[in-house]
């Protein structure tokens, strides 16, 4: 008895409890906390979105459903590959397990890459939340017009700061374009509702509702990316808030999983690691499930 203290791990027995390893139970408990975390975020999105007076269609905010669907496909593939890694590890085929983990890692990186591409596209169009306010306006009102005017003036000042003798031909063209925009009736002394709307559509035409025919005409911001004029996206601010928050936290979870997969590549993934792979697999499937809900909610609704 007196020596029992030196070898606790072998001698201690516990009351029979759940027939699963501690790690797996802990992972499942952790996943239930994660359910609540995403429930708060997704719940917020749903009440804000369906309570909003107007919400942009996905094309109005340059969201591409095929890209989203491709990402869904990528995540589903990675779920399969991680489950195959688990099978291989259980069968003690360490090499195969490592191969599948590497596949999962590659698919996860691909997912994040696509995500980064999408984010970049939004940023390029000026669709992002920002303090004190972003380039997005909810409606074509006088605040919007004055913001456009300010931007034009800032651009002019920037070009003119080079000095009259240093202006290149490109600068001249730019100044000319700015003058043309400044002559828009909406920026004149008394703009009408219709002219303001026209200006907004001229800067960035809105996309089409699902089912309608696509009509591609580029706006000023698309034709001249250096302009970066303020844009009007009704409901766009809350759209950007929720979209970037939801996908951002999902991407962080993906990133967390990828770090573990990367660490796994340095280990020997034989049967001894099967439990560990199962746990990280559970986490990975959960991340997949979150995306399964996010994809239709954000892209297709």
């Amino acid at each position: 008895m007196a020596t029992a203290g030196h070898a606790h791990s072998d001698s201690f027995q516990y009351q029979p409890a759940l027939p699963i390893p501690n790690g797996k139970l802990c992972m499942w408990l952790f996943l239930s906390t994660e359910i609540m975390f995403f429930a708060a975020l997704i719940g917020t999105y749903i009440v804000i979105r369906f309570g909003a007076p107007v919400w942009p269609f996905s094309h109005e905010v340059h969201l591409s459903e095929p890209i989203g669907a491709f990402n869904t496909f990528v995540l589903i593939c990675s779920s399969v590959s991680v489950v195959l890694a688990l099978e291989a590890s259980r069968a003690n085929r360490a090499g195969a397990a490592k191969g599948w983990i590497a596949t999962t890692l590659a698919l996860g990186v691909l997912f994040l890459g696509v995500k980064a591409y999408e984010y970049n596209a939004k940023f390029g169009h000026g669709i992002y939340p920002a303090l004190p306010r972003s380039r997005m306006y909810e409606k074509p009102d006088l605040y919007f017009a004055s913001a456009v005017r300010q931007r034009i003036q800032a651009l002019r000042a920037e070009i003119n700061a080079k000095g009259a003798e240093n202006l290149t031909e490109q600068d001249q063209q730019r100044l000319q374009l700015l003058d043309e925009i400044a002559a828009d009736p909406a920026l004149g002394p008394d703009p009408t509702r219709a002219s303001l709307t026209a200006l907004a559509l001229r800067i960035m035409p809105l996309g089409t509702a699902p089912g309608e025919e696509e009509s591609h005409h580029a706006g000023l911001n698309d034709e001249h990316p250096w302009l970066k004029l303020p844009i009007v996206v009704p409901g766009g601010n809350m759209w950007a808030s929720t979209y970037f928050t939801l996908t951002g936290f999902h991407a962080l979870h993906v990133l967390g999983g990828l770090v573990v997969f990367a660490l796994l590549l340095f280990m020997r993934l034989d049967a001894g690691k099967a439990n560990f792979i199962e746990n990280i697999g559970l986490y990975w499937h959960f991340v997949d499930i979150v995306w399964i809900f996010l994809f239709p909610l954000l892209y297709l609704f």
Binding site: P19, I20, L29, S32, I35, A39, A40, G43, T44, I46, V47, I48, F50, G51, A52, P53, V54, E65, A69, T72, F73, I76, C77, S79, V80, V83, E87, R90, E138, K139, A183, P185, R193, A194, S195, T197, A198, L201, R202, L206, P210, H216, H217, A218, G219, L220, V232, P234, G235, N237, G281, H285, D288, I289, I292, F293, F295, P296, L300, F301
Partner: protein, 149 residues
Amino acid sequence: MSANASGETVVDPHAAEHGIGKYIAVFVALIVLTGASFFTYSSLWPFHDEPAVGRLFMMAVSCTKATLVMLFFMHLKWEANWKYVLTVPPAIMAIFIMLALVPDIGLRYRIASPKRRAFMAEPLDVASVEAGSHAADNGDQQHETGGEH
């Protein structure tokens, strides 16, 4: 231990070990279901006028997909009853918190102040612009965007 593992009714947690074919089947099902969500976008989808139908359909598809992932990839199909204890309460609470937010947040414009209404987003009145631009502003606009019209 898992020699008789092909049947789906076996409660042995190791039953899944040789079921790679099963994973492939689930994988195919998930791809098909993702496609089904997209079906609401096709011209064959009969409920374009009622977006709620499409949304319900997509949520049903998502729930099916999530269930498939949980049952097979996360092995819940072969687990004992603890799976209900761990998954059902958070699911109920997740739905509950969403519902509790509806009266105040989902209906937040019900008691919106005049100031809020003045700044509230509203759909762009594209029709009025088109009517106007074809009549008067057409000449002005042609220079920049005329090529597209």
